[in-house]
Symmetry: C2
């Protein structure tokens, strides 16, 4: 029978608890957000003794469902001050699930300066002193960790930034090749883990009971429908858009749409887009390797396989993965048009355990405020490596994110919502995603309601990017996402296929019903998501969030964005209609 | 006829406007808060183009009413994110009032890097380039300013911290001896002035029309009643507590009560209280000067005269004034038991244009977080002088206040409400003042509802300091203060006398009726204050404040405060009963 593992860092105990009935149908974000809602005081300090950090594999994670190796990490966020679920694709939650664990809850507070790791296997749990790993580069310690714990282990950890409780610190997991490169990046959950002096959770799934499937036939039927949809859709099929060019296939598309935020959201089109795009990655690798290189899976069982690797001129590996958000944040948003520079910045982010989106957004704000010129790649690398990496005073400013950095420099041009920097879509040019940024309980987060599907990509049919009446659209995307991907454990990138191909959507519902023995219908998806989001919204309201927090930054209302020369003109009433009606 | 002066920093214009009827009975805080409520979007960025900075002399300021030289400065605060009124005693508003000005509204936003001063005389306004004064020590430039503008001029300015838009930057005015030592210190209004590149407002009242008094007889009658009360009460009479020992007379009293916050609110009693108290200032000066030195007035017409001067061992002047809040913030709260060190820190705060309370609170948080040891006076001086003074990255952290510094260091022990550090009364040991801290729209602010009067001093009769049912008490003090002192322009320190001596209270109402030609009664005072606070509360609610913001920091709920070993145990319902009922 599945268990919840409760880890207390005050007295360093780890105990297995039965799963309460009310949690049995939940997984991933649905479970982390419910546990945070149930157990964490919304008024607590995010880095104090009363916050808790919850990990949960998706409902389908650990099964044979394709592209389902997602973990949700949840807590009260030190970046936003609200509830946070931060999601990553990695083998780690597959092993957690195979050990029969629905969730791991980390609570309590260290009594002294010691740092600890937790090793979880089929035989139980063991704490180990982790002081020797503290202050170290993640790339330098990962090989030794796999030597120590075995190649089959999977690692969740924090880097130097999390140790210093910086709000841009993520939780890092290994990818399929043992790189420290898969991230629950957003919202500073690495700082929460750091506040508890928990450096690692190392998991070995070997010999675990696995994830029970109540109706295997139904599950298999669903799985096949989903695989068929993924293998058919132009975005997700083998050698399709994502497999060829990675998520960075979006660079040229958004740039063309005038919605590619450039130089701290001063413009919507970047002259260096072509040289930092997915196509440029593909062509650059081809030139440097002498052959075409298609992308790989970030985690076992993914059939989309969108994770890329960038190589140096001599053909050696530079970094994996150059995501759309990363090439944008550390490229266009900082005015840096060169993939080698972008790759170097990503490498340092991975090495220190920080979110690439927040890092790029922060450097961009610092550039805008005059700390260094836009386009100064060497300067940007120095800020990350030397300032954040050594937790200097400037590093502590930057390491706490874009909003914090803006305040440090008295700079009002900070493109954030609820304290979290916006990702790579300009809300003035793409109104629906702006509505999602403003209203999501997670802060500015494209993944929480990816209206880019219809607004830019034409998935589910094309909607005018400048149309403003998108409260219903954003809400529908937010509800559906909360369940269909974030709770099931499927990657968000199944969305293209399941939104365009009805049998794919049905397939996911079949998978869920197969695993749980439930009888959910396609029509239930949004409501299942609503139930989860209602808890998140209630948490945030108890933490003090109001309609005034469901807004984009003021400067977007009075600064026109080239090339379309548009301001943020969506009425506040539209924003309020999303979750305050 | 009185005017409002509107200063626009976009195009550098200054225009005189008629006073709308609805403002005619208002002054001081009543007027600044009403104008901010009427003209400033609560959602605006405090340092962006849409914030406004409003100055208003009190209703009685500029008349012969005793102890009435108060100015209110108001804006949306970069420290709290809410409405702010920050109040100082200085000749400056007397001259503003004598020029027939009810208020000065500073709005707009600079188009370039230039800095400006505004010279206001009976003949009108004149902008002058102020670049030569930027980046300079305030003590160094003040003598030259008086040479340039004449000894009868009065100056409102910002220091280096305000120029750098730091959230602990105050607005500095000269005292009676031309020192840069009178402050609208709290809430970062100096940063708002800095964001507009307005370095000075120099005022010369010579030849102005003065403040009209409708019923001179009634006014004189009220004035006499108030003078009589002030001259009688033990706290305010000549050679009484305030005149002898200054506000620092409170040190030993609060220390004895176990409510004197020590080492970042870790304890309620300081072993160095005696050596940093008002009595120690008096005795130290006596020893160093060879004679007793009673205190002086901070501004013309004050009969309480509580402003002190501390002298070096050789008898030369060190700094004026060592207020209770300053000797506490830079003394006990940092574990520094030495008046010479405290005086040096105050001098640097005055020199840079920063709030002594927020500065001490910030250094204490930094000490608590491990940046330097408690009691390290040399280190503390270095932080202020070199880091804040040179706007280094560490200086930008510290210069943005205690809450910001706590976040920079990932440190949850920050004793602030609404982002503003608590002043020198421990809420765990004195519950009523904690209720005021939590619920005041200004953030943690003792002056907004000084329940210390009954809780510690026995003014209006003694109430148990640990009793928790003080929602009504705090609300009554907050309403009454908003009108009787903050709007009339009387100093808060008349409170002791007018609360204990009924004719003193009547005297203030007589003064007001005399000036305005109104017929207010003593019983109207609270309601007049309520009308003002209702606007402030409405502004804050529109800015996103909720019940969750009317709280003391979480750590006070689980950390026991010695010597009484008390936690913050006032129910949330009591806090909500103040302004949410």
């Amino acid at each position: 029978m599945a268990k919840i593992l409760r880890v207390n860092m005050t007295d360093r105990t780890a105990t297995y608890e039965d799963v309460p009935d009310k949690y049995k149908l939940l997984g991933g974000r649905g479970l982390t957000s419910t546990i945070v809602y149930d157990e964490v005081d919304p008024a607590c300090h995010p880095l104090g003794p009363n916050n808790k950090l919850v990990f949960a594999p998706g409902l389908l994670t650990g099964t044979a469902a394709p592209t389902s190796a997602r973990v949700s990490a949840g807590a009260k966020s030190p970046l936003t001050g609200g509830i946070k679920e931060s999601n990553a694709g990695t083998e780690w939650p597959q092993l957690v699930a195979r050990l029969g664990l629905k969730a791991i809850i980390v609570e309590g507070y260290p009594k002294d300066d010691g740092w600890w790791g937790l090793h979880v296997t089929k035989d139980g749990t063991k704490f180990f002193p982790a002081g020797e790993y503290v202050g170290q580069s993640l790339y330098s310690i990962f090989p030794g960790l796999f030597e120590r714990f075995g190649k089959k282990a999977a690692i969740a950890t924090i880097g130097i930034a999390g140790e210093h409780r910086m709000s841009m610190a993520g939780i890092c997991y290994n990818d399929n090749s043992g790189r420290p490169s898969r991230y629950s990046g957003r919202g500073g959950l690495g700082a929460v883990m750091g506040s508890k002096h928990l450096k690692f959770i190392v998991v070995d799934g070997e010999g675990g009971p696995g994830v029970p499937v109540v109706n295997k036939e139904l599950f298999d039927q669903g799985r096949k429908k989903l695989i068929e949809a993924l293998n058919t859709h132009a975005i997700t099929k083998p050698k399709g858009a994502l497999n060829s060019y990675g998520t960075a296939v979006l660079v040229n598309i958004l740039n063309e749409a005038g919605g590619y935020p450039t130089r701290n959201f001063r413009e919507g089109r970047f002259e260096g887009a072509a040289t930092t795009s997915g196509e440029a990655i593909f062509e650059g690798n081809k030139q440097r390797l002498g052959k075409e290189l298609y992308n790989h899976a970030c985690s076992p069982g993914c059939i989309i396989q969108c994770s890329n690797t960038w190589h140096r001129p001599d053909g050696s590996e530079h970094v994996s993965c150059v995501e759309y958000e990363s090439t944008w944040a550390l490229g266009a948003n900082c005015g840096i048009p060169n993939l080698d520079d972008v790759a170097e910045l990503i490498w340092h982010c991975n090495d220190l355990g920080i979110d690439t989106i927040e890092t790029g957004g922060t450097i961009a704000v610092a550039m805008d405020a005059g700390l260094l010129p836009f386009g100064d790649a060497k300067g940007a690398i120095r800020l990350v490596q030397e300032e954040i990496g050594q937790a200097t005073p400037l590093g502590r400013i930057l390491g706490n994110g874009a909003t914090f950095t803006g305040k440090a420099f008295g700079w009002p041009r900070v493109p954030s919502c609820k304290g979290q920097n916006m990702p790579a879509y300009e809300p003035r040019a793409v109104k629906g995603i702006g509505i999602t940024y403003a209203t999501s309980p997670m802060g500015a987060d494209h993944t929480s309601g990816y209206t880019i599907c219809p607004e830019i990509l034409g998935v589910t049919g094309k909607i005018d990017q400048f149309a403003m009446d998108k409260a219903d659209l954003s809400r529908a995307f937010q509800y559906t996402t909360a369940y269909m991907t974030d709770t099931t454990g499927h990657c968000l990138f199944i969305a293209f296929a399941i939104l365009d191909i009805a049998s794919g959507f049905e397939g996911v519902i079949d998978e869920v019903n197969g695993v749980l023995g439930t009888d959910f219908k396609v029509a239930d998806a949004a409501n299942l998501g609503k139930e989860i989001m209602d808890r998140e919204l209630a948490f945030n309201r108890a933490a003090g969030f109001t309609k005034a927090d469901d807004r984009v930054p003021e400067f977007m209302k009075y600064e026109k964005l080239p090339p379309h020369n548009v301001t943020w003109d969506v009425p506040d009433e539209t924003l309020d209609a999303v979750f305050w009606a």
